[in-house]
Each structure stands twice: as C-alpha cells, then as structure tokens.
C-alpha cells in the first residue's frame, strides 16, 4: 500500500470539556484528513455533539486546542459551516432568505447572495421552492435548506450534527446516497456526527468510535474495500456488513 501523507484539515489536540462537575470530554485528540468524510460515532451522551460544537467554535473547550488549516480557532469562522440536527431554520423567512442567511451575515449584497443561494437551492433539489416558507416544507426538504445554507458560504470544512436523524427512513437513505456524491464532487472536509452504525460505515472515509463520558477515542476504523462501489451495491457488500457487526460488538459493551 502506498504511503500517502494526508494533510489534516482539522486537528483536535488534548481537548477537555467540563460542565461543572461533569467531565464530558477527556484528553480528546483526533485528526480529520482533508477532503474526506470522518464520522464521530458513539452511543448517546458520549460527547460527539460537544466535540463538534467545540470544533465549530460554538462552545469553548476547558483545555486543549483545535487547529483548522494550520490555525488555532476558538470562535466560529468562515472556514467552518454547520448543519444542525433540528434544521435551525428561521420560520419567518422564506427558503431563499434562509439559504442566503450565511452570506447576509457576511455582508454580501442582496442580488449577489440570492444568486448564489438559488444555485445551491437547485443543487439540493429544491428548485421552485425559493419563495416557500419552512412550515410549508416537509422535514426532508427543511434539512435540504439547512444543507444548502451551509454549502452557500463555501467553507472548506462542513460540520454535520446528526443531520439525518430527524427525517424519515426513506429520506434518510436518499440523503446518505446524496452525501456520498457530495463528498466525491465537492472538495471539502466533512465531519459527521451520528449514532447510526450503518450510516457511519456507509458514508465515511474514516470512523472515530467514541466512548461514553468521559469521552475519548477508542478506535479509528477506515472502511476501504467498498468505497468505490456504486451507491446501491454498498449496502450488500460483505465487508460493509462485517464492519457494521464488529463495530456493534465493540460498542455493545458500553451500552449494556
């Protein structure tokens, strides 16, 4: 196997996070290779969302540092965009305003930002819904709006906090397939939090298994054999199924 020196888009070094007495993260160190999708997988309460928010700059770490493209970060920045689990749309604004919101906050002019937003609205398959309001959309459509918003600001790092857990199963599967295509086509680094083992093995270039409080990395898995296969065949591939089973065995002891 050829040795590839992968540049790391994001590095987490020795991060601790305490909420008063509760130790949520302990000595967490992890690297996220550039241009790849890394999953943070673990049972509920294992600190995955906390870690993601610290990387995003939404929560301060008690100790340790987060390095994004060579620079230490402590606050949100133009280099990272976040996709929320509960969509976090503004119900009083229509789709195009929601999608263009990241650009609006950066001071981009109205005509320009609506043009950019329109393009991404088309990319996520919501063409025609630019002037609809969130309450007129289904859950899956709302999450597409959230995704389009994160893509519009063109950040090199995309942080996704269980983005598909609030939609139905069929939509979720479709989203996972779309995500694979997105990772292939966009030259971005994805950090993906999920509690679904199948989802993690399906979409990820590498999976970081996190253990419950205090959270630390137990192992890093790099599913490789089936990554090149087309979206439909992956779920039947034997390596995929074996990987899912072995992860479940590892995590099982912590859930019981």
């Amino acid at each position: 196997m050829t040795k590839e020196i992968l540049e790391n888009a994001v590095s987490v070094k020795g991060v601790y996070k305490n909420y008063g007495e509760v130790e949520a993260l302990r000595d967490m160190s992890l690297d996220f290779p550039k241009g790849q999708l890394t999953s943070l997988l673990g049972p509920s309460g294992c600190g995955k969302t906390t870690l993601l928010k610290i990387i995003a700059g939404l929560l301060p770490a008690t100790q340790g540092e987060v390095i994004v493209n060579g620079k230490v970060v402590t606050k949100p920045g133009p280099d990272r965009a976040f996709v929320f689990q509960d969509f976090a749309l503004m119900p009083w604004a229509n789709v195009i305003r929601n999608v263009a919101f990241g650009l609006e906050l950066r001071g981009v002019g109205k005509v320009e930002r609506e043009e950019i937003a329109s393009k991404y609205i088309g990319n996520v398959g919501l063409k025609g819904f630019e002037y609809s309001f969130p309450h007129e959309l289904s859950g899956g459509m709302r999450q597409r709006v959230g995704l389009a918003r994160a893509l519009s600001v063109d950040s090199p790092v995309l942080l996704m906090d269980e983005p598909f857990s609030a939609v139905d199963e069929q939509t979720r599967r479709k989203f996972q397939e779309d995500l694979l295509n997105l990772v292939k086509n966009e030259n971005k680094t994805f950090i993906f939090v999920t509690h679904s083992i199948e989802e993690a093995v399906y979409v990820s270039d590498q999976i970081a298994l996190l253990l419950p409080r205090p959270s630390r990395v137990s192992e890093i898995i790099k599913p490789s054999g089936f990554r090149h296969k087309d979206v439909d065949s992956i779920r039947k591939d034997s390596e995929y199924l074996d990987t899912v089973e072995s992860i479940w065995k590892s995590l099982r002891t912590y859930v019981e």
């Binding site: 939404l58 133009p78 965009a81 929320f84 503004m90 009083w92 906050l105 309450h135």
Partner: protein
C-alpha cells in the same frame, strides 16, 4: 368576490347585530334599545358633528397612551428580556401595574397629576403597557436557542442576533401582546373619562345614561368598539407586512 376573511367578519357582525335587534325588540331589559335605534342615534350624532367633537377629546389621551405603550412598551420588553438586571428592576413594576385594581389607583393619579390630559394618558398606559412589556420580554427570553446558535455559527454579531433572530422570532407573541394591550388601552381611555372628568366619548356615555337616552349611550359604546376593531385589523396588516412568515395559514 369577498375574501374568506372579510366574509367571516361581516357574517359574525350580522349575527351579533341581528341578535341585538331581536333582544331589543323582545324587551329583555327596558334599558336595552334595539340595534336600529342605536344606529339611528349614531347617525344623528354623526350628522350633528357631535361624535367628531367627542372623538377629538378622547383621541388625545388614547393616541398618546397607545403610542407610548406600544413603542416604549416593546422597547422595555426587549431590554428586560435580554438583561437579567433590567428584568430584576422593571418586571415587578409591570406585574403590579397589571394586578392592581385601576379604581384604587385613580385617586392616587388624580392627587399626583390632576384631572387633565396627563392622568388620562397614565390610565391608558397602566391598562396597556403591562401586557405589552410582559409578552415581549417573555418571548425574547424564550427565543429557541438553536436559531441563535445558527446565527452565531454563520458569524452573526450580537447586534445581528438581536435584530435578525430574536426580534423576528419574538414578533408573533409581541403582536399578540400589542393586540391585547391596545384593546385594553381603548378601555382605559373611556374609563379615564368616566372616572376622572367627563370629556369626549366618555361624556356622551355618562350624560346619555343620566338622561336615560339609551340609544345614544349604546351608540357611543358601539363607536368605540368599532374603532378598536378597526385598529386591531390595522395591527394585523402591519404584522403581515413586516413579518410575512408569521401568517402560517390560520382560520381567517
């Protein structure tokens, strides 16, 4: 063709006025005139210009009180919602203002501010402001944290979060508070005229009651209710213009 909303409003008006007319004719109470008698009295007052003179007097404390209560009320409400210290200082004032019986406060107002415009404006504000302030501050405090976090993650400043997230998110409850508060303000304007010194519409109500001219009394009451309803419709239009997304397809 009438829009559904307008049709429902006219229909409910027709039902109420029909019931009123019926009640008047069947002699429920010797003092209850029929709807048509009251409308005739209103018409007479309009023709003679009496109603316009009356409103010239009533509208002054009403307009001033409503404007102060709305703008300053929402402003204080937002500040109270955002700052714990401000909340500690000001919330109790408004809670007491709402709970205290107006009849008990009026003598105090008269002692402090006399029997002129100032006292009447105070009465309107006492009736209107608490609901507006408390609704606004409650809505601001309860802004869903996920949308605020979203704004911060996309590089929104503190000012952006307040103006673009907190206030629009709070606007449905703020407008509900405005509707309740302004209606109470209208009541306050009439109460002030009934209890402090009779001027304007309150004077028509008082005087016609004393002279047993019940059609005129009901005509005056009807006119103030009509004005309040028109104003609430105006508030609704303003809300829809400012925050189009708030209208999530309710009944009318």
């Amino acid at each position: 063709m009438l829009s559904r909303s307008l049709f429902l409003k006219l229909l409910s008006g027709a039902l109420i006025f029909g019931a009123w007319e019926y009640a008047g004719r069947t002699g429920v109470n010797y003092a209850l005139p029929t709807f048509l008698e009251s409308m005739k009295a209103l018409f007479d007052m309009t023709v003679s210009g009496l109603i316009f003179e009356a409103y010239a007097d009533t509208l002054r404390p009403l307009a001033i009180g409503v404007l102060i209560s709305s703008f300053i009320g929402v402003g204080i409400g937002v500040w109270v919602g955002l700052s714990e210290k401000f909340d500690w200082m000001f919330s109790p004032i408004f809670i007491i203002m709402q709970a205290a019986p107006l009849a008990a406060l009026i003598p105090l107002l008269i002692m402090a501010y006399g029997i002129g415009l100032t006292s009447k404006v105070f009465v309107v504000c006492i009736m209107a402001m608490p609901v507006i302030v408390l609704n606004t501050s409650g809505a601001v405090k309860n802004t869903p944290s996920s949308v605020k976090e979203m704004a911060r993650s996309f590089l929104g400043s503190e000012k952006d979060v307040i103006l673009k997230i907190i206030i629009p998110a709070a606007s449905p409850v703020i407008f509900a508070g405005l509707r309740l508060g302004v209606s109470a303000g209208f009541i306050g304007a009439i109460l002030a005229e009934l209890k402090i010194t009779p001027t304007g519409v309150g004077d028509i109500i008082s005087y016609s009651r004393m002279t047993a001219d019940y059609p005129s009394m009901y005509a005056a009451i009807f006119s103030i209710i009509l004005l309040a309803v028109l104003f609430l419709n105006l508030l609704e239009k303003i809300e829809n213009y400012l925050f189009k997304g708030n209208n999530q397809g309710y009944v009318s």
